[in-house]
Amino acid sequence: MAIGAPHPETWLKVTPAGLYCEPGGFYVDPVRAVERAVISHGHADHARPGHGAVLGTAATLAIMAARMGAGRIGVPQALRYGEVLEIGGVRLWLAPAGHVLGSAQVCLEWRGSRAVVSGDYKRQRDPSCAPFLVTPCDVFVTEATFALPVFRHPSPEGEVAKLLRSVALFPERTHVVGCYALGKCQRLIMLLREAGWDRPIYLHGAQQKLCTLYEELGVKLGLLPGATVANKSEMVGGIVLAPPSAVQDRWARRLSDPVVVAASGWMRVRQRAKMGGVELPLVISDHADWDDLNRTIDEVGAPEVWVTHGRDDALVHAMAQRGIRGRALHLVGLGEEDEAEPAPDDAAVPA
């Protein structure tokens, strides 16, 4: 930060609607409808309907329009990665976050002081979106979904290999993978394709729309028929992708002796996986794990880090040991979609 530059907390404020950039007059990922919003990515807890004007990458805007209807997203303005915009003296640009297609870190600079609002991000390779770009800054705003040292995501290629070994071991069963419809689903498809799985991958109806959109945006996914009753026998020995809620539900009963698979960072902890009745847990996450959170914080070199949501206690403790000032923002409304932490549920116990 240049000498005499204002500390970001003087111009980037925590409000009930979310982070507000005062001189620019806009919010980043606001949780309620506002006049002007900058959106980091298309997950519903970051991209909400009803804003006056929205700014984001073209892919994010397209995802929002596909999910909530073009009429509900507000007046869109697309920005390419790295393209700089000046709003009320604030320089704004978007940098890839590696989370899902179109996901961006919102980089803000005002009077020589720079804050980067990273949104959700990961550092692992993901063939379905652009990789995270390190942007040095004075304040780095980070998520902390998996901010405990027990969360270390293994290589996704290894996890997909595990799935394919299981498919080979149970050729008479259908593997149904619970995965979030935006991002995880398409990443899994691409990982499977890379691993040589060129057979059709069957989709629950809720997964179809975004896969079609990804294809339109240039991400090639291969043959993706619907997981319909008519396909039951065809799906034996095959792979079906469905929303996490559907794999446990009546819906999955249409499949032949399904092996319930879940792909999520939470699968790293056994009891979490068992609680959901998962037979094959795969640790594949679109969020940074403990090591990557800390590595990223070190690489951006910010002396101060704000933690939006997740396990801020462990992260703030770890940063303090390295002389980095941590501040928990306790933003409400974030972390409720994609890899939302499953709640312990007594109702899971049959009476």
Partner: protein
Amino acid sequence: MSLPAFAELLERLVFTPGRNAKLALLRGWFQAQPDPDRGIGLAALTEELKFSAAKPAMVRELVAGRVDQVLLALSHDYVGDFAETVALIWPVREGVNAPPPTLAEVVEALETTPKAELPALIAGWLDTLDATGRFALIKLVTGGLRVGVSARLARVALAEWSGQPVADIEEIWHGIAPPYLPIFRWLEGQAERPDPLDTPVFRPLMLAHPLEDSDIAALEPAAWRAEWKWDGIRVQLVSGPGGRRLWSRGGEDVSGAFPEITAAMDFHGVLDGELLVVRDGVVAPFADLQQRLNRKTVGAKLQKDHPAGVRLYDLLFDGTEDLRALPFDERRLRLEAFVAREQPRRMDLSVQIAFASMPQLAEVRAGARAASIEGLMLKRGDSPYVAGRVKGLWWKWKRDPLSVDAVLMYAQRGHGKRSSFYSDYTFGLWRPDGQGGEELVPIGKAYSGYTDEELAWLDKWIRAHTTARFGPVREVEKELVLEVVFDAAQLSGRHKSGVALRFPRIERIRRDKPASEADRLDNLMSTIAAPPPAA
């Protein structure tokens, strides 16, 4: 193959609820793994191979030396299980490129490494493994491997994999030690079936089907022999030049708990009988016998106050002569002659009950009031002694139909003075899972009927066998059988099982009974469809 392959098997078994899928996983293991690792893995899964070289405290110290205390505490708090926390949090050391150990290396090193060098050895192994592998290793070296694979299930998997009858495998099982190389050679067709010679091996028991009211009319009295069904535990007594063993019906060696019985086995042969506590010729209730179960050794006072005896049902081997193919009537004559000749101490013959008609036998059954009698056994006079439960040869005709042997599934903490105990139990019965296998379905909840001692024992068991937690509820390994008595069973649309029990209470803990032999939902349903006459 190395430890990671075993770790993956372990993880899949833990997460796999279905019996058939478990069998498939085990078959895959036998198929893919080389010797001796496959046999070592098998023995570790069934806990025939158990280590206690490393204590959990050692693992605690190892991790404390590598991880920040605050982060460790936060993580432990989040994960719950300490071994799992360590497995997950163990930091990767840059530059480690040693391959992970094989199971055989682990086993050998644990036996030969001096105690002081164990921590460094284990830490070195942990450095070569991923989280799944570390979890398996920690559970393995601390003796806490719990995956719900019974020795029986493992042998069924071996039978399915090799095409050999499971009874043929069971007969030699106890004669061959891990890693079972001669057994695998035989199963792969590279050698003859190993001969256990004089080793006192377990032979699978012959079991009875429950007699339904609808079956009774078809029974021709002259073809059947009746005996009391005593309420003890079924045992097999094996004695000869190679040694003496007392086997439970599941093939567990219970010799150590009943030294007075093995001391009395001065004969050469194999007998089938009921182990009971007998005082002055009178059989004591099951609870008395329970005092003697699950002990490695037993003191003089317990032997004096709870003297054990065996009521003999059958003779399988007279000397080295295998009698199992003979009809029951002939075996009975041989048994009587055997007892007259050997006069074994602490043993007597099971009495045969004379009857001319089934209604007459029903009266005898209804008239038996002793708590030590469960009902009647009906054995066909011409039945050979065959392994397992062959329909139509032996029937058990239990006296009190309003009881089920259910499997403990979940436990919850109680209230008031019991608030620190897991005192509310959800139990279930078996039913077909729709894929040719079996699954447990909960049929009710009970929170009474046990003694304080039993409550304490259950609480301890539950804490040691927890597989998942849901708030105040723990899910446990599906291993413990509870005899549940109840006033009535009613059809219910509100319950997943379709049945509701009236005032169920825990009558007894059946530590002797394998979970797979708990009652089936069908049996309970049939008592509702055709209510038994009031006892």
